[in-house]
Symmetry: C2
């Protein structure tokens, strides 16, 4: 599964760098039938997802990936599941937040789009 892991790494490097620098550019990664569940709230479609991400109430954000796993998600197309756990540094807070995020990436003309995106903060016990 080395290839999937390389694609997952390339995708998450790009995704989080874009999220942390110019969130409005993430829209091109989604399609009208893409789904985001953000902290339990379901949102559908590239436009609505982009609006949600752009309007998140923090000015500065840095994602630090702690673990990254990938698996092929279909026997018939080269789609893949990517699961990330990591830390979110928001604005100038000294306390990073733990998060988990899952993507399903679907191949589309030499690149991939995000069909599924589920994000959760992980609070301590």
């Amino acid at each position: 599964m080395a290839d999937f892991n390389a694609i997952a790494k390339q995708f998450t490097d790009f995704y989080y760098a874009t999220f942390d620098s110019k969130r409005d550019a993430l829209q091109s990664l989604y399609r009208p039938h893409s789904m985001l569940t953000w902290e339990g709230s379901p949102i559908q479609g590239d436009t609505a997802i982009s609006t949600k991400l752009v309007e998140l109430p923090f000015a500065k954000v840095v994602h630090k990936v702690t673990t990254l796993d990938a698996q092929p998600s279909s026997p018939s197309v080269a789609s893949l599941l990517v699961i990330v756990t990591g830390l979110l540094l928001v604005d100038d807070s000294p306390n990073p937040l733990q998060f988990s995020q899952v993507f399903q990436l679907i191949p589309d003309g030499g690149t991939y789009y995000v069909l599924n995106d589920i994000f959760r903060l992980n609070y301590g016990a």
Copy 2:
């Protein structure tokens, strides 16, 4: 997506109750092409996955689900993605471990099997 959420809840209730009481009975949820990535180690096939789960080095384990999200994962079949975050209480340790787990469930003759399973413990910052 109410239906997907209900299936996800039913599946995870069953999965973790079985995991915590008779781990060897989980094998029937997987197929020969199922994949588990356990703390970064990839394992393929129902038999190997069951062996891995049964041999995990703890005698008593209790999963407590903190968050549960689900999304349909395909435009053509009624498969779904399930992401769980929660706490793992292992043996008699007073310190629960945070975990994240993702399943992809594939419909199969009135029930579902697990095609993808990715498990990670989440360590603090």
